[in-house]
Symmetry: C2
Subunit: 418 residues, 2 copies
Amino acid sequence: MATEAVNVTEETEHMLEKNLIRKETENMTSSSDAKEMRAVILTGFGGLNKLRVTKKTMPEPQQGEVKIRVKACGLNFVDLMVRQGNIDNPPKPPLVPGFECSGIVESVGENTMGFEIGDRVIAFVNYNAWAEVVCTPAEFVYKMPDEMTFPEAAAFSLNFVAAYMMLFEVANLREGMSVLVHSAGGGVGQAVAQLCSTVPNVTIFGLASCFKHVAIRDSVTHLFDRNVDYVQEVKKISPEGVDIVLDCLCGENTGKGLGLLKPLGTYILYGASNMVTGETKSFFSFAKSWWQVEKVNPIKLYEENKVIAGFSLLHLLFKQGRCGLVRTVMDRLFSLYNQEKIKPVVDSLWALEEVKEAMQRIHDRGNIGKLILDVEKSPTPLMASDSTETSEAGEEEEEEEEPEGDNDNDKERMPFIQ
Amino acid sequence: MATEAVNVTEETEHMLEKNLIRKETENMTSSSDAKEMRAVILTGFGGLNKLRVTKKTMPEPQQGEVKIRVKACGLNFVDLMVRQGNIDNPPKPPLVPGFECSGIVESVGENTMGFEIGDRVIAFVNYNAWAEVVCTPAEFVYKMPDEMTFPEAAAFSLNFVAAYMMLFEVANLREGMSVLVHSAGGGVGQAVAQLCSTVPNVTIFGLASCFKHVAIRDSVTHLFDRNVDYVQEVKKISPEGVDIVLDCLCGENTGKGLGLLKPLGTYILYGASNMVTGETKSFFSFAKSWWQVEKVNPIKLYEENKVIAGFSLLHLLFKQGRCGLVRTVMDRLFSLYNQEKIKPVVDSLWALEEVKEAMQRIHDRGNIGKLILDVEKSPTPLMASDSTETSEAGEEEEEEEEPEGDNDNDKERMPFIQ
């Protein structure tokens, strides 16, 4: 139910012709039918073949919500976990994935304060971001700085907020400290590196695949190949260890990370990308990983003066209602952006239809910075030729065609795409 | 080896007559032989009967050390754990217990900078504090504020430094937060309460035995009896939980404490007083408690956005070499003391010969604030009549008189004193 002032539910086409939005949207590959939109659909949990681009009824803003014409969406490792069903209480598919986007306010629901049509915004969405239009409560929406592009904005929200909160809310980063970050070349890794550089004299130890080293060398103090024994390498440089370890891998790394901490140091687990195994039926591999994670005895922490923390921004936002705190953090980050102290690193832009290739790239850790789904982008012909398609039907048929069991040979050859 | 300027090894008596120390020490119940001193000795791990006051050779300061004529010593729960052998790698008895004292600098070792004879000081000592004289490295010694009494000083060091570091170094206490503290009436509990009151709008939930409630009511916001289900009581007042839980009990409380945390909240284990069981042969009860402590899965922390930390000031000082940080903290605390924002709460003063009664009091959690061993105090006749004695010999004989096995009836009747 839209309010009178923003009652654009029935007049979207009309307004698009009349106001600023027109300029922003005239090049958009929008659906010819205003009530429908393109969206990425996950038809069931599993491999890349569970993803389709299809038409879907366009949502309308409920009370307190903002309706956004999406320009760009962030693609994160957690989206791979969602695809495989490797998360707690996933919604029932079919679903539209995606937790963050940038775009333009197209209308607002009843009693929605603080936003006007045409506002350029960043938004968190509890699923449904990978579509031409999303609706999300106003408490998850933030006005973008004028200088920020839409891809930058979509690369900004989850990564920089997570990095900031881990460094300054959980771990209390201060002058002269040292930080170890896994996946230093990824979206969060690059955000961590930039935020560390806002504090004097912080040493950053980064792990990344060798081929990224030239590109990210300047962003960290010491860079190691992700295949080396980083514990030994770090201790060669800093025998007493580091103050903060940021780990998105989980599994065996917990013990290693704790072992690398100085007294009063903080280990933060903020992801579990090692749980994305590339297997079709991933529930058991997930459960196995869960139990295999080394449990921590609090008395050991007491003896060693150590801190272990978990951080999930999505849970904080969508399960734990800490929007107010996140807004404070976002304001500080916008200020740092406006001072040109931080700038999101965009790895690459992908059409919605290219979501499979984009996912494969993040799975293979080929990215430096953030992968962005650019809603207005057309698939590049070469990449579209072999594996992207827009399918509105036929999902059941394809599911039946899949082998139910895993073919180990296939898995080894193609660990991710089935 | 003392330096020339402070070469008082052979001339202690002479200097005592000549300088300011004389006034401080003339009422002291010092040994008639300058080379001997009174000290509390733990003859072996076990019950109270392992404690004696005896004569011991007076230590002389080594290079970098300060020799202190002790005025007052702090008695902490950890001393009970030491007595029972419930700590990691305890030194071999016989030993002199005690980790903190206040007193007057009597001499300094070679290359010892920053202290002069006659300085009033607080010191951390890695054992040996419960004696008339101690020597400890200068990095563990701090000049006392002029207004501070010796008992206050001995009540200050471990408790306030631990409370400060937990609240501000580990947990990052800020305006508007809430803190739950077990043993709110104890030395650390009272330090926590006072330090919380230096931050605007902090809510303190305290647990304490009922009989302490009148005395400590004003120091905390909400006070609960230690026998109630505090989880339920806290949630009635603050349904979303608290920001910081400080737990010195360990055991089953870890899970409860974590359950009470808000998202981004911090649980800190800083002691394990539940491990002091009152049993004679405590090794097995200790081992049992260790294994019974609920282990924490890092992924659970990730899902719940929680932080778990351990804090041991003694390990930080004596095993992990963080004296510099502790000195910074001590300076801040002295500043707060001089501003009259904090003031150590002394529960009671005890002669060295009364150490058994003092230990029983802390074991029974009868204290409000800190128990102090006052080196110059004479035992009160009533209390001295039944269980205190100064023994210089006969330890072996008495040990042989002890029953090796536990008498369960005796244990129930007198859980602590055998």
